[in-house]
Amino acid sequence: MKRWTLWVPLALFALFIGVAAYQLTQPKDEFIASTMIGEPLPEFDLRAASLDRPALKTGDLRDGKPRLLNVFASWCIPCIAEAPHLETLRRQGVDIVAVAIRDRPQDVARFLANYGNPYSRIGADDLSEVQLAIGSSGVPETFVVDGQGIIRYQHIGDIRASDVPLLMQKLAEAQ
């Protein structure tokens, strides 16, 4: 065996160690981001998920005004945590529409009664079709959609207080 080939295993090992060491320093990122950023929303027409808010279809998001699209569900625990921050955003003048994933009307109503209702429209996505079509992989997620119905930004996970200014900024950029 040639001398230099004897060092190949060590070299490969060093490469592995480098990558592994680097990865250990990175926070564990379980999220799968949507690749639809910059793409237009798919066409959809969902029935109303709750009695006191109108239904949601793509046309509602193409009226020239940027807004937030919140993907949530009554059975989603972190959605409870983000409810107050959504309310904060609404009070700052942000229009928030929602897609409720796999939810019965009575469960949605109960959730909204308990934790507040910041939404202007709520669509019921019983088969996760819209969720799949926009590249959302779980609840809760929030999308910034501009006035032409194009997805501009995705926030995965519940919204914390520290995320509110960032979302406001993304909305401003979407004008």
Binding site: P9, L10, F13, F16, Q23, L24, Q26
Partner: protein, 648 residues
């Protein structure tokens, strides 16, 4: 008290490992007899003390001592005793303790039993074994203490993951660990040989039974794990190229290559460098596997409690041990002279070919497993799974199987295909017949097709060495080889058949209704509640009849555990000689109908029968080698006595 005893024993074992290391290392330099005399006893006592520590852990779990943190987090008083005990190693700390115990016991065994190597090499080997042990003792004691107490005892334990509360947990981890960690012996032998520049046929002959032993357990462990996942996870899959599954396959591939390479080194004094490298690589794969599973950097259904801190510690150990061994390899292996030459058509040639194929396959599995890790460093996420591993692996496996069918028939050093043309014709003929028949009678994808055809060829080929030899005079080790190779053929047949001929039916069936899958007709006769020690369930009673024959009852369950709260499906299996019916009952699908998932998997059991046969072949080979070795030693000692008598 017991926890403290266990912890004290662990510290003592660690101290003995340090002693073993220091004494073994220093005795290399000066030939200091006092130090040298300490090494073997240190190794033996270390193993016993570590085993005692592990025993203490078992006692703690048996008693459900909730003042110990590990028990509180992983056990529950309602659990059946067998799962209380096996739950001791169903978690990170407990399994690490099992790891170190097996390692220490392996060291004890070498120290007690191994007499075939020059003493200096033995001491270097034991020192290397202790060197690796010290790192893992440190890991346990400093960052993964299994005996840690809670400041206030818990009121009740958090329970064991219901998926683990199964007989599989009793078999799979221990056999796997004896396999993984048993390979540390090969690692230590390789390092010892490199340090003392003693890479000889004697070294290979000494190492071979240890590798065989570890390899047998690893084969059984992987087979058990596959079968366990198959019936436990409820979807009938037996291998998914999941990172942790690969973590067990990679040492196995390296160990298989090592076995064959050591064979060549032992018989023909060739492939020295290759054998040493494989000895280092095999245990390195075990350690890399441990790292991948416990550091959390790879996504897997299997991963233990993830903690980057621990991951960093293990990574440090890898750098020291694998890096050190590979450094030593780079420095010293060049001075290892190559042995005798051989021609292409010879047994060595076939073994070299297959070794290269196995190593390439190992490289592929390693690449595919680590690739998502590599790309994540660049913020790209990819998925590498069966659609990659199966075809790419096949590139190397198919030629390997062909050579495997014929290789054992070749003679050492130099042979010709013309000499074995009759068995070649038989094997070739059978393979061709299978090829024609299968392509005429079925229409299946190319990979399963190749699998079936090659399984026939290899199955026939594996018993060809019997030709022209008296059965009773055939060495046991040769029987071992034939049985193991035949086992591969059987397993391959099962894999290909399951892939090609499985049928599935999903049906929403009301009580009294029926569904069909393959040649089976299944009637759902009732769905009733039932309960166990720590679960309640809905049990479906299905009457299944094969091809209109007598009906047999199968009872799949949908279980609800309460500690921790979780739903699992317990599949029901009906096994025939030609396959398995696999039935799962799911949720109620409305209108009093129940969701049934039914599979008919022809010859799927051959996969695990094959695995067991492979391990059995290994056992026969081991027995054969050990007996041959004992005989040789007896002859040598008788010869020595006779010489002494004639000299006197």
């Amino acid at each position: 008290m017991i926890a403290e005893l266990g912890l004290a024993a662990l510290w003592l074992a660690a101290a003995l490992a340090v002693l073993q290391l220091v004494a073994g290392a220093l005795s290399q330099r000066q030939g200091a007899e006092e130090l040298a005399a300490l090494v073997r006893p240190a190794a033996i006592v270390q193993g016993l003390v570590a085993a005692f520590a592990f025993l203490m852990l078992l006692v703690l779990f048996a008693q459900t001592d909730l003042s110990v943190k590990l028990v509180a987090m992983n056990s529950h008083s309602d659990k059946p005793m067998i799962f209380k005990l096996s739950g001791a190693f169903g978690n990170h700390e407990g399994s690490m303790l099992l790891w170190i115990t097996v390692m220490a016991l392996a060291g004890s065994l070498i120290a007690a039993v191994e007499r075939r190597l020059p003493e200096k090499t033995m001491l270097a080997t034991l020192a290397a074994q202790a060197f690796v042990g010290v790192g893992f003792y440190a890991f346990l004691l400093l960052s993964s203490n299994p005996f840690e107490r809670l400041p206030v005892p818990a009121l009740e334990g958090m329970g064991l993951n219901p998926l683990l509360q199964d007989i599989g947990l009793v078999f799979h981890p221990p056999t796997l660990y004896i396999g993984y960690v048993g390979l540390s012996v090969a690692f230590s032998f390789a390092v010892g040989a490199l340090l003392t520049r003693q890479v000889t046929p004697d070294f290979a002959r000494a190492m071979r039974p240890w590798v065989l032993g570890a390899w047998i357990f690893l084969t059984l462990g992987i087979t058990a794990g596959s079968y366990w996942a198959y019936y436990e996870l409820g979807w009938g899959g037996w291998w998914f190229w999941d990172p942790v599954e690969n973590a067990s396959l990679m040492p196995w591939l390296a160990a298989t290559a090592l076995l064959h390479s050591a064979s060549v080194l032992a018989s023909r004094d060739a492939l020295r460098t290759w054998t040493i490298m494989l000895g280092v690589v095999a245990f390195s794969m075990s350690m890399v596997g441990t790292f991948l599973v416990r550091s959390g950097i790879l996504t897997s259904v299997h991963a233990f409690a993830v903690d980057p801190e621990r991951g960093t510690f293990i990574l440090g150990l890898l750098v020291i041990y694998i890096g050190g061994a590979l450094l030593l390899f780079g420095l010293r292996a060049g001075t290892v002279s190559e042995g005798t030459r051989f021609s292409v058509t010879s047994r060595e040639g076939a073994l070299v070919f297959n070794n290269v194929m196995l190593t390439a396959l190992l490289g592929i599995v390693l690449l595919g497993t680590l690739y998502p890790l590599f790309t994540e460093a660049f913020d790209v996420r990819v998925s590498v799974g069966p659609p990659y591993f199966n075809p790419v692996g096949a590139i190397f496996v198919v030629p390997m199987l062909i050579v495997m069918a014929v290789g054992p028939l070749l003679r050492w050093r130099k042979d010709s295909l013309a000499r074995i043309r009759l068995p070649l014709l038989i094997i070739g003929g059978a393979t061709l017949a299978a090829l024609v028949l299968i392509s005429l009678l079925t229409s299946i994808a190319i990979l399963p097709f190749l699998g079936l055809v090659l399984a026939v060829g290899l199955g026939i080929g594996s018993f060809m060495p019997i030709r022209g030899r008296k059965l009773r005079l055939l060495p046991i080790a040769t029987w071992g080889m034939m049985v193991a190779h035949f086992g591969i053929a059987v397993a391959l047949f099962g894999m290909a058949s399951e892939s090609a001929f499985s049928e599935e039916t999903l049906a929403a069936v009301e009580v009294g209704g029926s569904a069909d899958v393959g040649p089976w007709n299944i009637v759902l006769t009732e769905v009733s509640p039932t309960a166990g020690p720590n679960w309640t369930a809905l049990e479906g009673r299905l009457l299944a009849s094969y091809d209109g024959g007598t009906a047999i009852a199968v009872t799949p369950q949908s279980r609800n555990f309460w500690a921790p709260p979780q739903e699992t499906t317990e599949s029901a299996l009906a096994t025939r000689w030609n396959g398995q019916l696999y039935a799962v009952i799911g949720r109620e699908a409305g209108e009093g109908r129940w969701q049934l998932r039914l599979w008919w998997k022809p010859f799927v059991t051959f996969i695990w029968y094959g695995g067991v046969l492979v391990a059995l072949g290994g056992v026969l080979a081991l027995i054969g080698r050990v007996m041959a070795d004992l005989k040789r030693r007896a002859i040598k000692s008788r010869g020595a006595i006779r010489r002494a008598e004639t000299a006197a």
